[in-house]
């Protein structure tokens, strides 16, 4: 059974690139367009979550906190995939429970390597 990954990003083109790379690598992908949409997609099995930081309605750090507060997903690893490269924001992500930080633009292989390293059974 393939592993299921949630991608939360307001940029459809980023969701396309990340989604295609993951699907080709055999993962099942669920997409959400912002943090709020991401929270609504916290259902069923999720082996990993990838989230942008700057998004409308609920940003990535707010979404990350919501994930870590959710009893069903607090142990689900989260990778932040963002244009944010500042140390302050990285520290916020680390403090909120992110497992990795990838700065956009990204190479699909970089994302796949990080996913295969962190994805849970």
């Amino acid at each position: 059974m393939s592993k299921r990954i949630l991608i939360v990003d307001d940029s459809a083109s980023v969701r396309q690139v990340a989604g295609m790379a993951l699907t080709r690598a055999g993962y099942e992908v669920v997409e959400a367009t912002d943090g709020e949409d991401g929270v609504s997609k916290l259902t069923g099995k999720l082996n990993l979550i990838i989230s942008d930081v700057n998004m409308p309605r609920m940003d990535g750090i707010g979404f990350l906190k919501a994930v870590k507060a959710h009893p069903g997903y607090k142990f689900t690893p989260v990778i932040m995939l963002t244009t944010e490269a500042g140390e302050d924001m990285k520290n916020k992500g680390r403090a909120a429970g992110a497992k990795a930080w990838i700065t956009k633009p990204f190479q699909p292989q970089t994302l796949l390597d990080a996913v295969s390293k962190l994805v849970i059974a």
């Binding site: 396309q16 690139v17 500042g86 992110a98 990795a100 700065t103 633009p105 390597d113």
Partner: protein, 328 residues
């Protein structure tokens, strides 16, 4: 002018400042909306492009998998089927050769029959000779019976006459046997002659079959090789195109960054009239300068990309490069 050293806000008559500000307040939101429109259009176009690229990559994946089936496992299956076909066709040639050998054995048997028919011919001649000799003896007996005369001579003459009849019948039978054996010999000679022609044609047919089978197999072998070569070349070139398309999709991520930067610029332009109003409302030029610096600092903090920060500081900034993941 006598008031050249006075603050800037006092250089122009109040109604002129007000007209300039009004002009700015009306135009800046237009600029912001234009930028927002460009950002939306770019985003939609990039999304459409990346969706199509994704479709192209998916199609190429299918094409590569199909050509892999031909050049990979399918290619091995094709080669294996060709070998199997070759074996089966060569079995047909073997079967033809076996039939030819069986026929040769049969002909050997027929030739050996020829030896027996010659012996039978001799035996028939000997029967004729014995009948002739018997007839001569019966003739002599009849002569002796006539010399003897009387009842004894007549009785002996009857016996001699019957022996002559038997000898004649035996000689006739011997002749018929000889004739029948001659007919059989003729038939055997005819069969052997016809067989030689059949064998000759059969040899030619077997050699021709072998040649044709090998020619057809070589042609199919060549076609298979060319087909496998084409499939492999197609697969390699498709992989190259796929990698190029995927790399193009990676490059399209620029839209996410430029979109964020443009959205920030548009928002800042939208806010500018309000900010300008608040600066005017501060009263003194020094307060206005401080408020402006606070606003710029706040703006710097609200940036999401490094290039925005560098440009804010007065540096130049090119396109961002992909970086390695950082694990916490």
């Amino acid at each position: 002018m006598s008031n050249a050293a006075a603050p800037l806000e006092n250089d122009s008559p109040p109604n002129e400042n007000s007209a300039t500000a009004e002009f700015c307040f009306e135009t800046l939101p237009i600029f912001a909306r234009q930028i927002e429109n460009v950002r939306d259009q770019t985003e939609q176009a990039i999304l459409a492009l990346s969706t199509r690229f994704r479709g192209i990559v998916t199609s190429l994946d299918g094409a590569v998998a199909a050509s892999q089936n031909v050049s990979g496992d399918g290619g091995r299956e094709l080669t294996s089927a060709m070998d199997e076909g070759r074996q089966q066709l060569l079995k047909v040639v073997d079967a033809l050769t076996a039939i030819r050998e069986s026929r040769a054995a049969l002909i050997g048997e027929i030739r050996s029959l020829g030896v027996y028919t010659h012996e039978l011919q001799d035996m028939a001649k000997r029967v004729e000779m014995i009948a002739f000799n018997t007839n001569m003896l019966a003739l002599n007996a009849a002569i002796e019976a006539a010399h003897a005369g009387g009842d004894v001579g007549r009785g002996f003459s009857v016996v001699a006459q019957e022996v002559r009849h038997l000898a004649t019948a035996s000689r006739e039978t011997g002749k018929v046997i000889g004739q029948k054996i001659a007919v059989i010999n003729d038939s055997l000679t005819h069969i052997l002659g016809a067989n030689e022609k059949v064998t000759e044609r059969e040899n030619i047919a077997v050699k021709d079959s072998e040649l044709r089978i090998n020619t057809v197999l070589e042609q199919f072998g060549g076609m298979t090789e060319r087909l496998l070569g084409s499939a492999e070349q197609f697969r390699r070139e498709s992989e190259v195109i796929k990698e190029e398309v995927m790399e193009s999709m990676v490059q399209l991520q620029f839209q996410d960054r430029t979109g964020q930067i443009l959205a920030h610029v548009a928002k800042s332009i939208e806010e500018l009239p309000v900010v300008a109003d608040s600066l005017v409302a501060t009263g003194s030029a020094a307060d206005a300068r401080r408020a402006a610096q606070d606003y710029l600092a706040e703006m710097a903090n609200s940036y999401t990309t490094d290039e925005q920060r560098r440009i804010h500081e007065g540096d130049t900034a090119g396109a961002a490069k992909p970086q390695a993941a950082e694990f916490f």
